[in-house]
Symmetry: C2
Subunit: 152 residues, 2 copies
């Protein structure tokens, strides 16, 4: 069951982060806000790594990653082989990320996606089940912990 949602951003996305955190709490989820809390300039990799670790260590069931475009923080999060982060801008991708990729973190760009669209993406992400089957083998292949173990 999805109960605890960790959320992190960079300075460009603190307003969207606050809006999503409040909405998720209203929806009954426990929200773990990993920052930042003020608009001072920060580096998105620091917050992406922190968020990935919260999910990979089981402190959160799912994660929401935000930056200006969503690109930088999605790259940072996916450096952690225990998580699977989908960068999305509309709910169909959020649904497919769950059905096919068992994504446990969703990334969005606060400068590109409006608040209501972001909520629709998070809603699809939180309420769609992984399909398993042939998709499981592929998801397993995303968990190779080291480059040396990846197929050439």
């Amino acid at each position: 069951m999805v109960a605890r949602i960790a959320i992190a951003s960079d300075h460009a996305a603190i307003d969207l982060k606050a809006a999503l955190a409040g909405w998720l709490r209203d929806e009954g989820y426990e929200v773990i806000d990993l920052g930042p809390v003020d608009p001072a300039s920060v580096d998105y990799p620091d917050y992406g790594y922190k968020l990935a670790r919260a999910v990979s260590e089981g402190r959160a069931d799912r994660g929401v990653a935000l930056c200006g475009s969503g690109i930088g923080i999605s790259i940072a999060v996916n450096r952690n082989p225990a998580v699977r982060c989908a960068l999305v801008a509309e709910p169909l991708s959020a649904r497919l990320a769950r059905e096919h990729n068992d994504a446990n973190i969703i990334a969005m760009g606060a400068r590109l996606v409006g608040e209501e669209m972001a909520k629709a993406c998070v809603d699809a992400f939180l309420t769609t089940d992984f399909l398993g089957g042939r998709h499981q083998r592929r998801v397993d292949k995303l968990s190779h912990p080291a480059l040396e173990e990846q197929p050439a």
Copy 2:
């Protein structure tokens, strides 16, 4: 100078891969097609890892990664800390991926993005320069080779 473009996909994206490869050759680029070549079902992580390696080892200057949604292969590619892959569906994100993130691989979903939109994304990706400056420090932080070296 960007001259050699590696391209890889899964079975869901072989038609878009062929279209982009032909167009890129017409535009004067050397295209390294890493497969697959027929529509038999394959696992996107295999092709994502292969593409990331081609770019990280310098056999290609840039990469194009395709699957049904673009999500799965973008996750696979970003497991390699020497590359930075942006999943995009429109050219603004492709431009920002270059300007802010020095992305060297672009991912797209063949079931979500039409051929002309995909070409516009690739064009922005290939013709936009990295801005450097404050963005360089953040890009450097994406290159941490091991989870142990990531900030907590």
